[in-house]
Symmetry: C2
């Protein structure tokens, strides 16, 4: 049955890197119906909104959505509920993609690009499973209110229920079974009750259904340190939306391979997934053909694997990226001189 | 006039490292009245509470309180409001020490101990100014509630008012003037209104009173990356309680000098300050004479400077630590074999 993929190129370098995915799609000639929609700042410019109801509906009707990046200085003055990021948060929430898979993997050919000594990052392969549709990103009450005397008060709410915690922990345990079978859960249970509930629910699920997986717990501040001290101690990490945002970015930078790192956001089985390179919109280099398309292409590979039912094609794409890299193909961010299109061409040639 | 210092050795390696401060105090023979009180797990064992009203009162009546560390596996089963950390949070809050100064400084003699390549950390000298008595650590509503159907809900509240933000930003700007005159403020204003208020208030104060200081803003997730990529880009960093907890720990580990790093928590002028090494209670090495007393001794130096009105003595103590290090004195954590007491003795000898 024909699968469907919705491309959301978005802003900054988004359209350039998604452009290379399109070229790859044309070469692969898979049975996938590809559509495209405006997203983020590009959607604001056209419609006044960072995402339209119609685009949300199309994403929900597809098998996978693949985005480039959203945001940039051009839209800094937008009202809070109409900024580019609000579109991304709405899409994540409406798609119900509660588990954000963010591999922090060090590509052997790039180990020297890290600010860390080679021995600390060579072979590094951490998989973050970040809760993506709850926590302080979505909790209410929230907002800024006037409290008199020239004073304002800003509020956000960190909130998790048992089942929100359990479903993302389940994803982490399942994925760990296919890897080194170890999960580390991060929270601040020593100062936050929401973190204590997190720890208790992860512990209970582990005991009931995943006792074969090795589970450890770590305070988020300690994890920020341990990632620097000895990142290779970690296999799968499960954590909440906010800690996951920060800690997975820290881990990504450790690898020296930032322009290489994909991500997947998945929810209930059979529901569409949302895929995106983690590098962001990079407005400083947008439109210059300097962006590294590897993260977008590897995000597409994750879409093939998790949502489009074609693990063989995913393997092929991932192998082609590895081969192109090993053959010396490099964009500027990883120490080379290739343009976005030349890097895309090198990967296609390596297929 | 005689100044007063309350020692709170606490748990784990706390008593050992504070022990070396006591020896140093005896040698320095300054006009300081030194007292001592139980804190953390040690106080729980004696009184059932991690801090008593009397100890809080004594801290408030002193010029400075210097703690070792609190917590450990022994007290993991404590009720949430009576765990060791609750005592620390109560003390910070009642003392009103809203600005937590956490230097992340790389000691030249220890640059090779970092997991980062030497060129990234040599000369590193970041000063975190972390808000310490507000935010999600103290916000209400908070707690865990039963919501039926075998489900629970954990809640914490991130909350800041204009004046809470302004007073800690003021501390950061003032301190920056005595350094490289640059402040970077971190928040998640793209997803949290409390972070947006933070950014707006810091910006307004800067414009009104500190336009001579260079101010930049960075999203907390990006800062987690930039600290790894190029830590030397930072001078003074101001951020909230939770981001400060995580990001300052990340930065501390970058230096390779964790056992060396002190901290100060200060509030309104004339009010007592709270000083502590950042290394924690390290239960795994407690009682073995292996702990590095430098962080505690340097925290005492910060107390001399900020609360005990003796900058000259602070300079002497800091110079002695530098001299001892340069002379090769090292505890195990920084690649040597000296015991806690031998390291303390080396510093006293270098005075
Ligand atoms: C753009 C922003 C809203 C987003 C987030 O904070 O989740 C980004 O940092 C990410 O990690 O995907
Ligand atoms: C012990 C704990 C409550 C504390 C905190 O989270 O503030 C510690 O991590 C710190 O940074 O001083």
């Amino acid at each position: 049955m024909t699968k469907s993929l919705l491309l959301l190129p978005g802003d900054g370098i988004g359209p350039e890197v998604i452009g290379e995915v399109k070229r790859l799609l044309a070469v692969l000639a898979l049975d996938i119906a590809v559509e495209e929609a405006l997203f983020g700042g590009a959607a604001i410019d056209a419609t006044g909104l960072p995402i339209t109801d119609e685009t949300v509906a199309r994403a929900l009707a597809s098998d996978a959505a693949l985005m480039g990046a959203v945001g940039g200085p051009k839209w800094a003055g937008q009202a809070y509920d109409k900024r580019p990021e609000a579109g991304l948060l709405r899409l994540r929430s409406e798609m119900g993609v509660y588990a954000n898979l963010r591999p922090a993997r060090c590509f052997a050919a790039l180990a020297d690009a890290s600010s860390l000594k080679r021995e600390f990052v060579e072979g590094l392969d951490i998989l973050f499973v970040r809760e993506l549709v709850g926590g302080v990103y979505f909790g209410t009450p929230r907002g800024i209110e006037d409290i008199g005397g020239g004073e304002r008060r800003g509020v956000n709410t960190q909130v998790y229920t048992s089942s929100e915690i359990r479903r993302v922990a389940r994803t982490a345990f399942e994925l760990a079974r296919g890897r080194s079978n170890r999960v580390c859960s991060a929270e601040k249970s020593n100062v936050m009750e929401a973190g204590l509930l997190w720890k208790e629910e992860v512990t209970a699920l582990h005991k009931a259904e995943y006792a074969d997986v090795e589970l450890s717990h770590m305070l988020a501040d300690n994890m920020a340190m341990q990632l620097v001290k000895n990142p290779k101690q970690f296999d799968v990490i499960v954590t909440d939306n906010l800690f996951g945002d920060i800690l997975s970015d820290e881990a990504a930078m450790l690898t020296g391979s930032l322009g290489m790192l994909p991500s997947a956001a998945i929810g209930e089985a059979g529901k569409p997934g949302l895929y995106e390179p983690i590098h962001g919109s990079a407005p400083d280099i947008a439109g210059q053909g300097l962006a590294n398309p590897c993260a977008a292409i590897l995000s597409f590979a994750m879409a093939l694997r998790f949502s489009l039912g074609d693990a063989a094609a995913a393997d092929r794409v991932e192998a082609a990226v590895d081969k192109a890299l090993t053959g010396g193909a490099r964009t500027r961010d990883i120490g080379g001189t290739l343009s976005t299109q030349e890097m895309g061409a090198a990967i296609i040639a390596a297929l």
